[in-house]
């Protein structure tokens, strides 16, 4: 489940599918995960995620030659006293490999937590990145791979991966190895622009896209433009979902599974995708 633009309804759609058909679901928006708010899971297992290594200068051994400072491309080493700014360190280990005094060590850093959970409808793998951390892609890959393993173990026909907005590393990590991508977009100039870019991303990684327009009645001209674009470019169109104020109330009250015309339409779109696949 991808979108390019944020806030188009990926999580609402993913959760609705899970409540209908169960199976296994993964929240791969590890920066700002939201699925757990709706699914109210029971956490069965929580684990630390060691997502990266960072350099640390052992002061006793440092001769102050400054080679690490000169070579670091990320400005992560300060020149006065030579120490590593953990926030800027990319974990490339360049300094570790060149230090003539062997004064630099690469230390494991915990970048998040991974949870394996059970919901009322099935299984749920999710995570939380430590705020401000990097290497989101690695954590996403870990969540997705674990969810895949769970799906195989319990014999689920499908795995839903709720991805982050954008087109960068967390989205690429969510997309690799999937059979299809549902692109949830909205009929706004931004939604359209961002959809084009995720479609290009799908093409780049040879992933089969399906397009759903959420809140289609917000601007029917743009909705028609999206549909026309899909039909001209032979992209499968899974349907349009109306704007439904009741779903906003249901989100506010956390009354899930959702009911009403938007939820019904989402179910229809999902059935269409499932049938085709």
């Amino acid at each position: 489940m991808i979108s390019g633009k944020g806030g188009t309804g990926k999580t609402t759609f993913s959760a609705t599918i899970h409540a209908l058909d169960g199976g296994v679901i993964a929240d791969c928006d590890v920066d700002a995960p939201n699925l757990h708010i709706l699914l109210n899971p029971r956490i069965l297992k929580a684990e630390d995620f060691i997502g990266t290594k960072k350099a640390e200068i052992v002061q006793d051994r440092c001769s102050g030659c400054g080679l690490c400072y000169e070579l670091c491309r990320f400005g992560a080493i300060s020149a006065d006293g030579y120490f590593v700014d953990e926030k800027k360190c990319e974990g490339c280990a360049f300094c570790f490999n060149v230090c003539p005094e062997k004064a630099i060590e690469m230390r494991d850093v915990k970048t998040g937590d991974i949870y394996f959970s059970e919901t009322q409808w099935g299984y749920f793998v999710h995570a939380r990145l430590k705020p401000g951390e990097e290497n989101t892609g690695r954590l996403v890959t870990e969540v997705k791979n674990r969810a895949k393993k769970v799906a195989e173990d319990v014999g689920s026909d499908f795995l839903i991966v709720d991805a982050a907005p954008g087109v960068g590393c967390p989205v690429i990590a969510s997309l690799t190895g999937v059979d299809a991508a549902i692109i949830v977009t909205e009929p706004t100039a931004s939604g359209l622009s961002d959809m084009m870019r995720v479609l290009e991303l799908c093409e780049h990684f040879r992933i089969r896209p399906f397009v759903v327009v959420n809140k289609y009645d917000l601007n029917e001209d743009v909705t028609l433009k999206i549909e026309k674009y899909c039909s001209e470019n032979e992209i499968e169109f899974a349907g349009r979902v109306p704007f439904d104020e009741r779903i906003l109330e249901q989100i506010a009250n956390l009354s899930f599974p959702f009911s009403g015309k938007a939820a019904e339409k989402m179910v229809e779109c999902w059935k269409k995708v499932k049938e085709v696949l």
């Binding site: 087109v167 960068g168 100039a189 906003l248």
Partner: protein, 263 residues
């Protein structure tokens, strides 16, 4: 003063706030959401663009497939068979392989990470980056766009709470966190607030889609002593204007006051 507009959750209204804040106060705008830049939709004018590059390794004929480059690369961005094959999309441009190759068989070449566009409208200049599709890291491009920034700027940040967001707000003097009043919005606001606090930034909150039946965001701000800078109503009219790529002319005063309240 540099003001960054950020949020944990996507689609809360960062672009709306950033674009209108910049135009109605005549301040240059930087769209650092290079994965999905949208500000250009609202700022029309003559555009100039150039390619943005980063360095990646290229292998020369004297490679003897010793594998040192593969061993030092922390990003699995090189594989070795009969010689070394770098994978530029996974490369973090750290330069370690080139420097450590015993045969001096690698050199750094330019690789397109995206483009940088400047749009001059009647009121302001918009500068934005557009990441090449397939590039994993947005940070190289964000850094290059940031080099063009003066001491007064409005910054539209990418959503989330990881490296691209951190990079985008790191040079700001003040951060506006745009939050929507839903349980999702509250959850992600807390994460974003944690990031900007840790960076030592001054920040306040603009509530967008105010009027939705959830008071958790304002309650949280009250309890934490976070200033609510303003509220943008939940309205179909605003959503429709956004959908057409129009500015919120009716709310000009709101955005002027929002700026004055911070600066």
């Amino acid at each position: 003063m540099r003001i960054a507009v950020a949020s944990g959750k996507g689609g809360t209204g960062k672009t709306t706030v950033a674009v209108n804040l910049a135009v109605f106060n005549s301040i240059d705008l930087f769209d650092l959401d290079v994965e999905e830049p949208n500000d250009y939709i609202f700022i029309k004018g003559e555009a100039e663009e150039r390619i943005a590059y980063r360095k990646v390794p290229e292998v020369k004929d004297n490679c003897n497939a010793c594998g040192v480059c593969k061993d030092v690369c922390q990003y699995s961005a090189i594989y070795v068979i009969d010689k070394a094959y770098p994978l530029p999309e996974l490369c973090h441009s750290c330069g370690a392989c080139v420097y450590l190759c015993p045969e001096k068989a690698m050199e750094e070449v330019d690789y397109q990470t995206g483009k940088i566009v400047r749009v001059k409208s009647d009121e302001i200049t918009l500068t934005y980056g557009e990441l090449t599709i397939g590039e994993a890291s947005a940070v190289f491009l964000i850094k290059q766009v940031k080099e063009l920034m003066e001491s007064t700027a409005i910054i539209d940040s990418p959503p989330g709470a990881s490296c691209p967001m951190v990079e985008s707000v790191s040079d700001a003097d003040y951060v506006i966190l745009v939050a929507e009043p839903t349980p999702f919005g509250l959850h992600d606001l807390k994460i974003a607030a944690e990031v900007v606090s840790e960076l030592g930034k001054k920040f306040g909150v603009v509530v967008n889609k105010h009027g939705l039946p959830f008071d958790g965001v304002e309650k949280y701000c009250r309890e934490e002593g976070i200033e609510v800078l303003g509220k943008i109503p939940f309205s179909k009219d605003i959503a429709e204007k956004y959908s057409r790529g129009e500015l919120l002319q009716d709310m000009k005063d709101f955005f002027v006051q929002l700026y004055e309240g911070i600066a």
